[in-house]
């Protein structure tokens, strides 16, 4: 069974989306012929070619301004008329959206947009997962410690993708308290700013 993953992070490397795709591919397992496209590095034509004949499409991307990153939105807008004809008949769309804020449910609007996309494109919306505190995937292996919940959610999603069944919509947060996540992210910003030669107060400039 062919499964086409689309990475919708515009980062050149080291995206949370990439790590999530790798974890899903490991869970979908052997026997699946999986292929990964990248919405920023590849042209629309190249991506359409990769999706051809696929019964399962899996979009994995970061939440941007409560929605879909512009380059990925442009791709979806551009392929809505042709995608159903190119993918396998009855092809299903799954999605994993990760965000920077703690609550995974904040990805719900982006998931709804994908459902609206499916209605226009003639694809079957098969549901998806909102992953809160997405940057935490760099803190521990998925399935362990603070990433335990995410591991379980991806196990369930992978089983649905493999079985061709609808996944419904759900969201997860890390097994890690919100106040510690906040403290860690805030410290991270200060350290990164310092590496760029800035003082902590420069971050707050309003000039």
């Amino acid at each position: 069974m062919k499964i086409a993953f689309i990475n919708g992070s515009p980062k050149p490397a080291e995206s949370a989306s990439e790590i999530i795709i790798n974890a899903l591919q490991a869970r979908v397992g052997q026997g699946a012929d999986s292929i990964t496209c990248n919405a920023i590095k590849q042209s629309r034509a190249e991506i359409m070619e990769s999706l051809a004949g696929s019964p399962a499409l899996v979009l994995v991307f970061p939440l941007y301004v409560d929605g879909i990153p512009s380059h990925l939105l442009r791709l979806l807008d551009g392929i809505q008329a042709d995608i159903a004809g190119a993918a396998a008949p009855g092809a299903k769309l799954y999605a994993v959206v990760n965000n920077g804020f703690y609550e995974g449910r904040q990805n719900g609007i982006a998931l709804e947009m994908l459902q609206n996309f499916c209605a226009r494109a003639g694809l079957a919306w098969a549901g998806g997962l909102g992953v809160g505190s997405g940057g935490m995937v760099f803190a521990a292996p998925i399935g362990h410690g603070p990433m335990k919940n995410l591991g379980k959610a991806l196990d369930a999603l992978a089983a649905n993708i493999r079985g061709g069944t609808a996944a419904g919509t759900c969201s997860v947060e890390p097994n890690f308290p919100k106040f510690l996540y906040t403290a860690a992210v805030h410290l991270g910003w200060r350290l990164q700013a310092k590496r760029n030669g800035l003082k902590p107060r420069d971050i707050k400039t309003s000039r």
């Binding site: 512009s70 992210v185 910003w189």
Partner: protein, 169 residues
Amino acid sequence: MAKTLILHDLPQSEAEALLSNLWAGCTVFSASPAVHPCIGCFGCWIKTPGKCVIDDRGAGFLTLLPAQDEVVLLSRMVFGGVSPDIKAVLDRSIGFMLPYFCDRQGEMHHARRFDAAPRFRYVFYGPDITPEEKATAQKLAAANALNFGAERWSVQFYQSAQAGAEALA
């Protein structure tokens, strides 16, 4: 007089025909032709705080935001949200907020960089906007307002760009 910034996605000729009567009183920012998409580098928070590091006209919208009382987004409706051209401008403008988290209504959001935020008025146009898309757009506008620290927002739907533009006059 209240300061209004209009962000639209109309091609230049159409913008001239539909919006030129508004140009005197407002600042108009065209999302078309498309600006470079955000590359997710967070430079607007930790390299050049409050400014996008990509050097094209897409960086300009953010610099206009703090002075406004109202921002109007005249956008083609796409899947319950704004069009790719408008979205490219919005994605490039998160430096309007600080990278630091705060709590709003029990949810995590970003702290404000500036004391006040403009009102957001969404004017969506499209010949066949579905009820589902309208419902999503309402949620999006509320979420965007919360995220940009805006206290007030509104959402309107029109069948054509012309009808939407006329509503602004």
